[in-house]
């Protein structure tokens, strides 16, 4: 079980170099320096605030996925005990709470990254929480082959959205173009 959890931690920790490469997180600069100005977005926040916001967003997304995953397994365990209506209510409650975590997290992260980067965080959190839950609740071990493919999935996802965050530029009006 320990190896499975360690593997989940490794997959989750991949987000660290990914965001440092994208310059979304930066721990080398002084936290009180202003963030880099992105086209179309004013640079209002400091590096420290940026790191804090991104870490908070990742935390919210992780907890949300842990909730959904827990509800998924609870639903499978109590399938015979509870009526369908109660199961639907249980699933809805978990999803609603998760959405209350995801919505601010997505928006906070969108200030520094793009839709694709948010999708990568969701995928990585989904994989790591799922591995932790199955190893804790069901004592299921992820074999080496499956672990390798999951790792490759996470790496492939990061490679796809490895472009640095770039906001859409404001459209120039006709006057500016002719000038």
């Amino acid at each position: 079980m320990l190896e499975t959890i360690l593997f989940a931690v490794v997959i989750f920790a991949l987000l660290w170099p990914f965001f440092i490469y994208l310059d979304v997180m930066n721990f080398t600069k002084d936290p009180s320096t202003m963030e880099k100005h992105l086209p179309g977005r004013p640079a209002r926040r400091t590096i420290g605030r940026k790191n804090e916001d991104v870490s908070k967003s990742i935390g919210y997304i992780f907890v949300g996925h842990a909730l959904i995953c827990g509800a998924f397994f609870a639903f499978l365990n109590f399938n015979d005990l509870l009526p369908d209506g109660a199961l639907i209510a249980l699933a809805w409650a978990a999803m609603a709470i998760a959405m209350f975590l995801f919505s601010p997290a997505n928006r906070m992260m969108n200030a520094y990254s793009n839709l694709g980067h948010i999708a990568v965080v969701h995928l990585v959190c989904m994989l790591s929480t799922f591995i932790i839950v199955i190893s804790f609740v069901y004592d299921v071990k992820v074999n080496i082959e499956q672990a390798g493919y999951m790792f490759l999935m996470a790496v492939g996802a990061m490679m796809i959205f490895s472009g640095k965050p770039n906001a859409p530029q404001k459209k120039k009006n006709e006057e500016e173009i002719s000038f």
Binding site: F75, M95, A96, N106, L115, G116, S162
Partner: protein
């Protein structure tokens, strides 16, 4: 009897999953661009919209897991992979610049590992 998630029998379950993944991603895209709406209001709307999703997914999952015997690992991975692929399709449909070699390689690595994991 246990079926593979990539078999023909799983198609009636995979297609609704694809539709749900696309709806979720459209929702994500919309809520990221509706910055003038307060986040609390958006969270409440999204939480309410989860009710039809829950009502749809609970019977679907119980049928997949108990009647058809699909493995839990594969159901979960399939849905997460499908959600990511729908974001990828979004990114391809709204190109801002030509993809780099690393990105194309990433698509190959992701699709290969996703298929190999489920196969």
């Amino acid at each position: 009897m246990e079926y593979s998630i990539l078999s023909f029998q799983s198609l009636p379950f995979l297609l609704p999953m694809v539709v749900c993944a696309i709806i979720l991603n459209v929702g994500l895209y919309i809520h990221l661009n509706f910055k003038h709406v307060p986040i609390k209001k958006i969270s409440m709307i999204v939480a309410l919209l989860m009710l039809p999703f829950a009502a749809f997914f609970v019977p679907l999952l119980s049928k997949m897991a108990f009647d058809f015997g699909f493995e839990l690992l594969f159901i979960y991975i399939a849905f997460s992979g499908i959600c990511f692929i729908s974001v990828l399709i979004f990114a391809v449909l709204m190109p801002k610049r030509a993809p780099s070699i690393v990105q194309i390689l990433g698509v190959g690595v992701f699709l290969f590992s996703f298929y190999s994991l489920l196969a």
